[in-house]
Subunit: 347 residues, 3 copies
Amino acid sequence: MGVACTLSELVARFGGELLDDNGAKISGVAPIERAGAHEIAFVSQAKYLRDVDATQAGALILPREGRDITKRPRIITSNPYLYFARISSLLNPAPQLDPGIHPSAVVHPQARIAATASIAAGVVIGEGVVVGERCVIGPNSVLGEKVVIGDDCLFHANVTVYARCVLGNRVILHSGSVIGSDGFGLANEQGRWVKIPQVGRTVIGDDVEVGAGTTIDRGALDDTVIEEGVKLDNLIQIAHNVRIGAHTAIAACTGIAGSAKIGKYCMIGGAAMIHGHLEIADKVRISANTLITKSLTKPGTYTSALPFSEHGEWLRNAVHMRNLDKLAGRIKELEKRISELEGKKQS
Amino acid sequence: MGVACTLSELVARFGGELLDDNGAKISGVAPIERAGAHEIAFVSQAKYLRDVDATQAGALILPREGRDITKRPRIITSNPYLYFARISSLLNPAPQLDPGIHPSAVVHPQARIAATASIAAGVVIGEGVVVGERCVIGPNSVLGEKVVIGDDCLFHANVTVYARCVLGNRVILHSGSVIGSDGFGLANEQGRWVKIPQVGRTVIGDDVEVGAGTTIDRGALDDTVIEEGVKLDNLIQIAHNVRIGAHTAIAACTGIAGSAKIGKYCMIGGAAMIHGHLEIADKVRISANTLITKSLTKPGTYTSALPFSEHGEWLRNAVHMRNLDKLAGRIKELEKRISELEGKKQS
Amino acid sequence: MGVACTLSELVARFGGELLDDNGAKISGVAPIERAGAHEIAFVSQAKYLRDVDATQAGALILPREGRDITKRPRIITSNPYLYFARISSLLNPAPQLDPGIHPSAVVHPQARIAATASIAAGVVIGEGVVVGERCVIGPNSVLGEKVVIGDDCLFHANVTVYARCVLGNRVILHSGSVIGSDGFGLANEQGRWVKIPQVGRTVIGDDVEVGAGTTIDRGALDDTVIEEGVKLDNLIQIAHNVRIGAHTAIAACTGIAGSAKIGKYCMIGGAAMIHGHLEIADKVRISANTLITKSLTKPGTYTSALPFSEHGEWLRNAVHMRNLDKLAGRIKELEKRISELEGKKQS
């Protein structure tokens, strides 16, 4: 790491209001409860401002509400978490790898690898691949033939990209992720399954990050498309011909079935499942564990999780979940009977 | 690609009724809305026949209901989707790889690799492995000792097959899939877990396809068995000692717990979860997100998903899900009170 | 295998009461229904003792209730499953691999690899890595720089450990598992996501086993911690800054969101989902498919699964799940009306 900055250098670069600066240098970020004299910590929400009292942090990033609650050196900003992200990126730069191709990598002679790219040990790169400037391809990753990737991409170890997929600039792929595997396309012939060749591609825009173990199938005929700025957590499944709109974030263990179109700026909780062939509007939020079975045409938050209970209580309630129609029928019957009684009463 | 066929050649090979043939050659398949003069498109269901009007496709595959709705060259068949699958396979043959073992692959001298097989860069093959004719083993895949695989298998990059597993002919394994990992077998000794050695195998039949990131554990004592023609999507977990019957298809993110026996010709939706030690009959369909907790002895479709709502509406309903037993009690009480009132009325 | 023991040797080693010993040697374990004369089988629960009648097993491990139901050689013990685990481990020792580094492995000159460790073909080990005594690192696995692992670890093929993670002794990692990938840490700037560098580590204790395809993210600032004896099945997602208490076992397809603290000796069923920033007490059991949205402060079993139905029945009930609040309102209204009627009756 070894980078260190004064607070005034940080404010010159990222803005914000600097108070009670003592000229000290900051060399790292840390949680407020264990930050030391050379570290900066942050409080993102007013309700956590009480943590400021006990901190030993050399400096703080605080929201406006915290402007006057301490005499420690501090930067006041409307979005402390974002400010912290910027400082942390500055103080924790990605390790600089030497450009070049490791001798144990197997790169097809017809691949074009930028001279500034770093290709690690054990990487296998197929015919016709293009790798842009300053890309880092981690150990034992595999790029199938004719894969094209832009500049400044970072692929960690053991990543797989199938043939002909196209990735933009600054794409991050975590280990175990698989881009461009065949979609689940099957025709049925008297009970037996016949495979449909998956001849589309997976096309990924700029600034996309794909988590560990996440799989994104290629399209059947058209492409699967992940637009710019999309962030995918671990162990997510994206089926063939899905389109995910720009700047949408999806938490781990989520599955999106074939040909679903997800809007821009959506936030999808963990383990959500989205049926195929539907459309979800921009700025939709889907709660964790929610199953979406129909198109969503307007922004909002959508949920379908069953609340948990202590097991015995759950057992007592669960029996009725399978009998709701009968319960509703009994209520209707009661309404009829009571109306009759009320009628007789009046008559 | 480069393959091209006349429609009469296609009909000679695959059957169907050819109408208004103009002798043109077809070199690819495409979606009906963007197919061009040298491409063939299909309509599988009558409700989509309206798309035929605007198409520029050189030829069409149509169901019987669409026989007379266009003058374009067309093939009439009872199963257009299957017909399309056959044409697409013909026009998109798997790339032919040169047979042989890449110099960077590490193949144990006691392994038997067919001379027609293609072993890619970085592959590691253990002692006693047998690889059949025309198999393709993708870059950086690993076959543990004594693995036996049949003919014409296609393993993509970064696949792992543990020791002693047996795979049939024409098996496709996608990247990141893991075959034969240890089942989750643990005995408990005063709170601590003691591992049960998993000494069974994973045995996979002919024509099975396994999706990216899918894991199939080996058996504890007996084998885990995937029968012929089974199709598994991505990120599926198959636990130890499971048996999946022939020609069953399972969508992504599904989990099947230990020793479950799944029938033949079943269709299991995405993110379904199936408890262990139960049996599911042939031809059962299980909906997406459904939890199966008991054996299913007859065909049918089974479901357990909670419908989603807008979040505020969900909140108002969710509180009652934990109180259904009380609601049911109140209904019962009402029934008793109203019966009493009715009785008094009559008396 | 080749190991064989007399029953008296087993009892001398593991305890238990030996009855009707005939001096025969046992060379393997098998299920009771197919065990042969040189194999030992077990019955763990009294309800399965009826299987003893038909067995051909050379010896049996039985619970106390089965002491006198057969004349076959048998060992009586209070925990037959644990006893079986011990015998199986003895008779199925892990294969002994020759120590040393395969010539195709790429090990940084500044890594320290114990002379007794076995580094397989295609492994890539970064600068500053420490690998302990008798460790086995499987083919094509990758250890990032400064990873430290203890003694007697077993990493199967295609495992990835990111830089600076620390693992204890006897840790088992299955293929496709990813340790130390970046957590899903994002700040939002006017709709666009800004990555938070993930500078913590993943720290794994002694005797932990991690299933195939399971991903454990590194911490954002602090570490993600998996305490000793934790057992993780396949395709589990552990987010950043999670802590899992010692000897907790988690079944496949489960997801645990960021900063959740799971207690010791917990058992978590398959496909459970646990929200972030909550605490779960020691000895909690969570049922399969259950979503935990709040802290659990005391031991017990917790459940939230919706029971499945035949699809038509499910449809009839599901419509009411979205109308529970209205149903509850109708019950309340009925209670009011009937109270009025009852009041009039009395008056």
